[in-house]
């Protein structure tokens, strides 16, 4: 004898959205910037990673774009309180860029075209947690959002995801970046609401 289910027809609740404390949802993509959008010629674009022993890896645009890429769908949390969910990116994993690089560094200082800097532990760039993103929503990443390429570290507040990334410097010392040196939290975990020094 078979059992026939008539199906469950109870009321469906809308999916709950869990946000980090102090955040609200946005549907647009706000543009935040501490300076003018740099005019970057792809013919002269470069991405450099240096280790604490001055080992250097360098990619020009064609070399960078020849690397394996992957789609990334992540939530973004900005320290100015907005969050944007399920954003779609395409990028190169930092695991790919750092593969085989001999380093015992504990920290990374990221420098952008235009001079912006941000710092984070190296372990937050590895383990499939960070990318150099060049595509957003199926298109080339627009300059105002960090194109041609930006760092994407979605588990930390968005100021860590430096736009217009140029140089990742690995080192033994943790050097505060542009905002970390002026009141903003050194680590910036949105789920622990680490916005300012002492949070």
């Amino acid at each position: 004898m078979s059992t026939v289910s008539r199906g469950f027809k109870g009321r469906r609740e809308p999916p709950s959205v869990e946000l980090p404390p102090g955040q609200y949802l946005v549907e647009d993509f706000p543009v935040l910037s501490a300076g003018p959008t740099p005019d970057i010629d792809l013919a002269h674009w470069e991405l450099v990673i240096t280790s604490e022993t001055d080992t250097q890896r360098r990619w020009d645009w064609d070399g960078f774009r020849a690397l394996p890429t992957e789609p990334v769908t992540v939530d973004l949390h900005c320290v100015t309180h907005w969050s944007k969910l399920q954003t779609s990116w395409e990028g190169v994993s930092l695991d790919t860029l750092l593969e085989g690089l001999a380093t015992s560094a504990g920290f990374a200082l990221v420098t952008s075209y235009g001079g912006y800097t941000t710092n984070l532990p190296l372990e937050d760039l590895t383990g499939h947690k960070a990318w150099i993103a060049f595509g957003y929503d199926g298109q080339e990443l627009e300059p105002e959002h960090g194109g041609p390429a930006r760092l994407l570290v979605p588990h930390l507040y968005l100021w860590k995801s430096a736009k217009w990334v140029r140089w990742i410097q690995l080192g033994d010392q943790d050097e505060p970046g542009f905002w970390e040196g002026l009141g903003y939290h050194n680590y910036g975990d949105p789920w622990r609401e680490q916005r300012f020094w002492g949070d």
Binding site: L32, A34, Y184
Partner: protein
Amino acid sequence: MTSANPWSDGTALAGPLGDLVRVEVTTAIGRCRGCGRTAAMAEVRVFDHAPGLVARCPTCDQVLLRLVRGPGRAWLDLRGLVYLQLPLQQT
């Protein structure tokens, strides 16, 4: 701010800085540490769609001033200015 320029003019400094230093900052004269431009702070470019407020030299883009406001405290960085000449009322 316009869609073409992601900055405001220096009058955007008046409210946030006036709260802290009780002087009319926009009429102050600032000298850029990068290029030496010396002009009224009202003429600088203020990037205030950011985690803090960043004032830059309109000639060389040097960061002149940064201001971050958190709950109950503020941080002010003036290292991009050689000096700031502040107007005082005559008594």
